[in-house]
């Protein structure tokens, strides 16, 4: 009916959250999803998301790759668990002030901190929405912050939260790139850019590069505890614009994304904001 291509078999229980942690009949599992998650996060914190492979996680747990499939349907589930765990690190116990913008900016600041602590969050592909239990709590909290604005339709609120999170991901990526020592590739890219700019065919680019730094623009200014003053300014402005009550058709709707997913700032055909 609604099935796209292959139809038979149970298409249910696709997500980790829909599958039971363990069966009821067999022997007690020697491990649990929490341990897998911990190991995966540890690997990712150290070596990026690419370091999280079924094999590596298994090694970390002192077992074979095949064993993990008793706890998880595949690598994707591992990422789901990681993202939700990181989301859980965002403090949702902070009392709301009643000012939606201020509350959401503060929430964004805390989300940003988590991104700095777990840089791999920026690497998670925004292809699919990843919302687990903690993600739901996060959304509920954000919606609670937006409750004073009862003129705004719910969909628009979710849209604002999604956009806000996308912005946080973008900024976090910039800050992280500015913070880390540049890759060989990043250095080469910077060299190439300056070399060609010097060539004379791109005068405006040359000038722009001249009075800017080589590194990621804005990165340093956005850093700092709580995100720095510039972080707050950018986030506040964007949020204020998004929440401005000027939508006549009221057809505003957008994805509600968890703090981590959300479309990240991608590789637009030409983006200067790269690396240093």
């Amino acid at each position: 009916m609604a099935g796209t291509a292959e139809g038979d078999g149970t298409a249910d229980e696709v997500l980790v959250w829909d599958r039971p942690e363990r069966g009821a009949r067999g022997p007690a599992p020697e491990r649990n999803r929490g341990q897998l998650t911990e190991a995966a996060v540890r690997l990712a914190d150290a070596g990026g998301l690419a370091a999280v492979s079924v094999r590596q996680v298994a090694r970390e747990l002192g077992t074979g790759p095949a064993s993990l499939y008793r706890y998880v349907a595949g690598r994707d589930d591992l990422v789901d668990l990681m993202v939700d765990a990181a989301t859980g690190e965002i403090d949702l116990g902070v009392a709301l002030t009643g000012d939606p913008v201020a509350d959401l900016v503060a929430l964004a600041g805390r989300t940003h901190q988590v991104h700095l602590r777990h840089p791999w969050l920026v690497e998670v592909a925004p292809e699919a929405m990843r919302v687990g239990p903690r993600g739901l709590a996060y959304l509920e909290y954000a919606l609670r912050a937006l409750e004073p604005l009862d003129g705004l339709p719910g969909a628009a609120k979710l849209e604002a939260v999604a956009a806000l999170n996308a912005l946080v991901v973008m900024v976090s990526g910039a800050v992280l790139r500015a913070r880390r020592a540049p890759t060989a590739r990043q250095a080469a890219q910077a060299r190439y850019l300056h070399a060609v700019a010097e060539g004379g065919e791109h005068p405006l680019l040359a000038q722009a590069l001249a009075d800017g730094t080589t590194e990621e623009p804005g990165g340093a200014a956005l850093a700092g505890p709580g995100g720095g003053p510039r972080f707050a300014r950018v986030v506040r402005r964007a949020l204020t614009g998004l929440l401005a009550p000027d939508a006549p058709g009221g057809s505003g709707r957008a994805t509600a994304a968890p703090p981590d997913t959300g479309s990240t700032a991608g590789p637009a055909p030409a983006r200067p904001g790269g690396s240093g």
Copy 2:
């Protein structure tokens, strides 16, 4: 000298653009980078970025995987070439009106169209900046559009262009996701979201989901030739905010209040280790 870790060997010529297309002494190559690029783009258009593997491209060209390494240093170079080729599809011959915001919004619209034509652009990891020859031309054009604003420092202009492109990528992703039939995973995610919302523990979320659609919100409204009215509105607003002359990098006109998130690495009430 400045090398980070491993020092020997030539660390130069990391990017494709720094390496000559072919040597001068040997026999004429049977293929060229343009053909590789074409094949790779063809594969990506059909099957996403994941479909672009050294092996598949080689098969497309009727040769073995090892042969490609005469034209390209690795898969990464292939992506560089693809991105630059796509960037080249953006029409930079459009005359500028003199209104920076209008000109950049129009440019963003054309960029958006290219993203719709080559959906894999959204999948390219934003980890590293990828600017080739066409990317440079794109930047120069954008800076030319921004020339009337000579009060703005060059770095701020580049930052604005970067942010604009990030926004285009984000919106393009949303539109593409709304356009395509949902994945099994996406459907499952939506089901999970609604199911839990119905549970009663997340009343605001339930309400927000109630007056929104199940699918990716905003996608439809953002679609259409030229990006649709909503696309222009969003992009224009964001851009106007970014270009607002209130001293981004210059005099330290500090913002009123940074978020009061307080402690540097503080919150984390919930650890990832907790079992289900």
